[in-house]
Symmetry: D2
Subunit: 395 residues, 4 copies
Amino acid sequence: MHGYAHLFVPGPTNVPEPVRQAMNLPMEDMRAPDFGAFVKPLLDDLREVFRTRTGRVFVFPSSGTGAWEAAFTNTLSVGDKVLMSRFGQFSGLWVEMAERLGLRAEVVDVEWGNGVPVADYARILGADRAHGIRAVCVTQNETATGVTSDVRAVRAVLDDLGHPALLLVDGVSSIASIPFEMEAWGVDLAVAGSQKGFMLPAGLGLLGVSEKALEAARTATMRRAYFEFSDMIRLNDTGYFPYTPATQLLRGLRVSVDMLLAEGMENVWTRQNHLAEGVRAAVQAWNGCAIVAAPEVRSDTVTTIRVPDGVDAVAVIRTAYERYRTSLGAGLARLSGKAFRIGHLGSLNEVMLLGAIGAAELALLDNGARIEAGSGLAAAITHYRKAGTAQQKAA
Amino acid sequence: MHGYAHLFVPGPTNVPEPVRQAMNLPMEDMRAPDFGAFVKPLLDDLREVFRTRTGRVFVFPSSGTGAWEAAFTNTLSVGDKVLMSRFGQFSGLWVEMAERLGLRAEVVDVEWGNGVPVADYARILGADRAHGIRAVCVTQNETATGVTSDVRAVRAVLDDLGHPALLLVDGVSSIASIPFEMEAWGVDLAVAGSQKGFMLPAGLGLLGVSEKALEAARTATMRRAYFEFSDMIRLNDTGYFPYTPATQLLRGLRVSVDMLLAEGMENVWTRQNHLAEGVRAAVQAWNGCAIVAAPEVRSDTVTTIRVPDGVDAVAVIRTAYERYRTSLGAGLARLSGKAFRIGHLGSLNEVMLLGAIGAAELALLDNGARIEAGSGLAAAITHYRKAGTAQQKAA
Amino acid sequence: MHGYAHLFVPGPTNVPEPVRQAMNLPMEDMRAPDFGAFVKPLLDDLREVFRTRTGRVFVFPSSGTGAWEAAFTNTLSVGDKVLMSRFGQFSGLWVEMAERLGLRAEVVDVEWGNGVPVADYARILGADRAHGIRAVCVTQNETATGVTSDVRAVRAVLDDLGHPALLLVDGVSSIASIPFEMEAWGVDLAVAGSQKGFMLPAGLGLLGVSEKALEAARTATMRRAYFEFSDMIRLNDTGYFPYTPATQLLRGLRVSVDMLLAEGMENVWTRQNHLAEGVRAAVQAWNGCAIVAAPEVRSDTVTTIRVPDGVDAVAVIRTAYERYRTSLGAGLARLSGKAFRIGHLGSLNEVMLLGAIGAAELALLDNGARIEAGSGLAAAITHYRKAGTAQQKAA
Amino acid sequence: MHGYAHLFVPGPTNVPEPVRQAMNLPMEDMRAPDFGAFVKPLLDDLREVFRTRTGRVFVFPSSGTGAWEAAFTNTLSVGDKVLMSRFGQFSGLWVEMAERLGLRAEVVDVEWGNGVPVADYARILGADRAHGIRAVCVTQNETATGVTSDVRAVRAVLDDLGHPALLLVDGVSSIASIPFEMEAWGVDLAVAGSQKGFMLPAGLGLLGVSEKALEAARTATMRRAYFEFSDMIRLNDTGYFPYTPATQLLRGLRVSVDMLLAEGMENVWTRQNHLAEGVRAAVQAWNGCAIVAAPEVRSDTVTTIRVPDGVDAVAVIRTAYERYRTSLGAGLARLSGKAFRIGHLGSLNEVMLLGAIGAAELALLDNGARIEAGSGLAAAITHYRKAGTAQQKAA
């Protein structure tokens, strides 16, 4: 296999060279006298990425799934009622976890391609006069369908009703990529993972936690040990961890956070939108293909593409991988075989995405799709040019 | 700061160059068509390191502490009785975790410096005619005191009594370093971490699980999600994982497992003993210093060294770090200020350990210890020479 | 700057990941007892890349320019007559070097876009009955114009005439990329550099030297020291070097040679042709652009593209670099401002080249070229598809 | 082989981690629009390392041997007379190069273990009333014997006599390690290599060149091309190079120069002396061993150690390498078998050198030396302690 492998799954994302360089290091003592002086500002700066001033950020050696568990077990008790919705593979898995952990999930099922059902949430929460619902869960970015939900609208519902439930957000594939305002939106718990917008290998689960959620953690009785917030707080306050942290990833995280903050979160979000628009332009130019997400909820981090009838999306992905050295995301669960995904989050640029689009065109053509060769690329070029011209004028 | 930093804590350990090279890589798709062909033989080969043919090995993105939790939550139910012992910081933390998770721990406290109280275990298990004790826990290597416990003897007790309790072993700082025979010793659950004998960065929790423990997992009702064995089994059987694995570490693990198996586990154990003997010779030559562990239970992976009266072990460690660029392990809990530790597990050789001993001598002298300059080094040299001569003769 | 930088200059080329990993290493002693056991097979295997069984390969710490100098100084004497031709920047510089070193160069100037003037060479050599011409020089691949010369034809001329001149070939941007047969073509001295087909950083000059050239070196009186073959031979025969070699690059070279030989040189050449055809298809689809090289001499390692009148090629390159993070090659000397180059040698694949073509389209459009957006990409896609289909059938 | 390899040859030296990280990078275009902005300040800053304000520094892709050649060929003409001295392998090789290049070397042979014969130089230069001697050569640090010559004294001789000869210094193993003052000492040409005090892999030859030497280069007629200063000047003035530079090493050089200047050259020199004293203390404690260099000329970068009669130094080195994973320097030429060398230049610290001394003790003992185990280590510890105490008091 020649040349570089091309990675366009919605996580893990491409690791920037400075981050890769920073992780090429010998091991170190996580109890060294000066280690705390490294950790404390890092945890502080992470709050800027999560956009919270009054909350805290925890970093666990785990995947994002572990961070989901940390969110539930620290703030809720067995039997607690939580309001959730299911509109894709990951929102569905989160519901499953809630149930396994003994929560009573009230679940709204939504057609795939749409996001959090704000009106349903409003109705249900409005009916919950006794405030039996302890937490409301929103998957901000459903990675399976490429849908971005309106977290702010859910907050507004809660505020309008004066409902005290915690607002829990799965931001694994959104935070550090698309607009997320933990404090302004009143999010109580936000879950992220290292291998998406943070541009790192998988292995860190990150959580932004509001003061209200920390307060809830003091009385929540769900059993927990590895993910216990109070241990983290006690040690983090000294710059250390309750058990061996993944120091290699933390050193990389230092660099990726520096990169994000140097660019400015708003600029990160704008860039991701710019890049995503090019991908969507390409898909819309492909005859017979369709974007799974409804127009108003399309994600800037991943696009899920329904392939034409008669084309096998699994074969498309396999061809892209084996023949063109390009990893595209699979259609998951009910979309298996019917869709593939292009992840366009993390460290990317226009030319990389032309590669992604080109690889998809090649693989679609190879598998019988009657798209016009170059049609998606031409649309993307036209978008990137136009956007570029706009940027140039502004500059 | 000039020259290389020297790392002699009992984990993280020094990462061998081939492992470091293997982890210097771009990210990859953990759902790629050929990823399973990488994962399956890796999981198989791990069984050779754990020395089990009939069991399985699980690899979680977590620390060893997470693997402890996985061991308990998958095989036990809230309220289950477990037999444990406490003779150092880590055996103590394990007890604490058991209690947090709702287990009823019957705890034998043992003087630090000693290992698992086999006689006490025999007495308690013998009295447990109703087999209320569901699991017996052994910390094979107490990293705080540098003590190795006799796991095999506990197995013998269980066998003699025909007691059906599961045998759970914390092997975080022993597996892949000192003799451990999962199958021969009838261990049901063995916990390890990537950053010790596996010579990797922290971030992977590994578990060896016997068929009996897997059977227990089918009925155990403790709530669990992230660490659920059955999800792991279902996906691992296809070569994949239930959530994003730490692929960078897995690529490193492939190389470290190759290195271990190429050397042969018995040879690894012999080498660790050879290196440890040199350290112990050095400590015994230092006037006023003492090895915390009782003579018959001294660990080949870490030596805990009591400093002379009047010397502050915290200052010794700080001097070693700041002035001699050398990380020594701290004395933990009741040994804080009174002892320091030299980790001698993982990828090491004689000359590295001369550096460790030399740094310790320098830092001890700097902090008022009346040891003779060079005394420990001379003893180590003499040991390494002698051992070398013996090896030469054999070769 | 986000995402990866894209490198499509005709050297340095993209370093494959296994080579990069191999160069991520601590330093070593180039006089170590086992270093020779590493060097000797490496030098042997290099002969397979050069396609010589009876010759030797030397590796100097230098650029390709240094290897040019080594070729002249070791085999010729001041005042010797050499036959050369000039049809681009690099063939021109080689002439300049010959003159600086005191050789009398008989130079045939050829219009840029063409290759070695075989008929002129035949005429001149035919007239040289006294065999005053001691060496005949051919730039196999003129990197400035993207032209491949016919080395074999020059050999035929020499053979037909029974002319004893040495045949010297500049293969810096051809060897390890396009067909080169040192022994079959009777090449006496072939010059290569690490940063092209060998897929390494710059820093090694490589020379394939025939027995006849080694014989000439015994009597050649041009002054030389650093590049002295006889020192190299004496030490290389033991596996060592007369002065400190660039060990880091040698470790990388070991891996890149392994990759080349595992693929097979013929397959390397076929792949390069396949990739180049896609680039040429794209250029031909761009309205107003033209390939500088004449149709029958187009190089499979680099394409030089004349931009439409009124477009500034310097600006195109700058836009590609600054706005699209893509390095294209500059038009050199008389082509400055009129042409740019796409390097397509080394470790590449179709999707990478779609990126190169896309970046060029974007930058051309940004600078006023009236090409159709996506036109080059569509042509390349069509070629890569077709070729792929053919390959599939064959497989 | 377990643990890290230990490198104590007098070059290549250990590469610091930040330098290694900086060299772990993809390739780049050495003609990129912003490459010059990287090169120019780097070349400027190198002048601070060479300690010249009015001179220039050139960086060639070559070894230090190539830089020797550059020094001669650019400033002298065939037949020119040069004054040289020979007191070790490297000063001898430099003489040999001068002769090969057609210079008439007047050579003073000095007993190995001593340095440049200042009195002889004074006598010869004094007798050279016609100023036929065009250059005076000094090997500042003879790496074979571990001798540092008095460059300043030679300058004083020239000044006293008003002799106009150029002063050429081989500083390959001294510059960036021990006191060297190009401008204050009136050095006209100073040669260095990347793999010594610059703490990089081999592959760069560096030259500091005074205005007077640049003036001489305008009329010197020795044939040269690859190493031509005027090409370098023309391109370096724009921030570029006349041919492909070794960009990977240049990126590393940027970091190593930053490290040197951040520390301050005087502090670098002091540190090297401090570390060297520990090694010398160790050697003097070894019964039957002796330092080859005379007491007043002992080098702070390398110590050459004569082994006791009856001990084979070649075997000592081989044992250190094969059994203790430690590279010691070989005794060269007439010292082969009789001496070994410990390189103590570059990025080192006390604990690393304890490893070096320990490995040497082990290997000496293994090969029959009747030294006392630990004797050298004790002496080194005592020195490092004392020096440390002094430093502490001063701080």
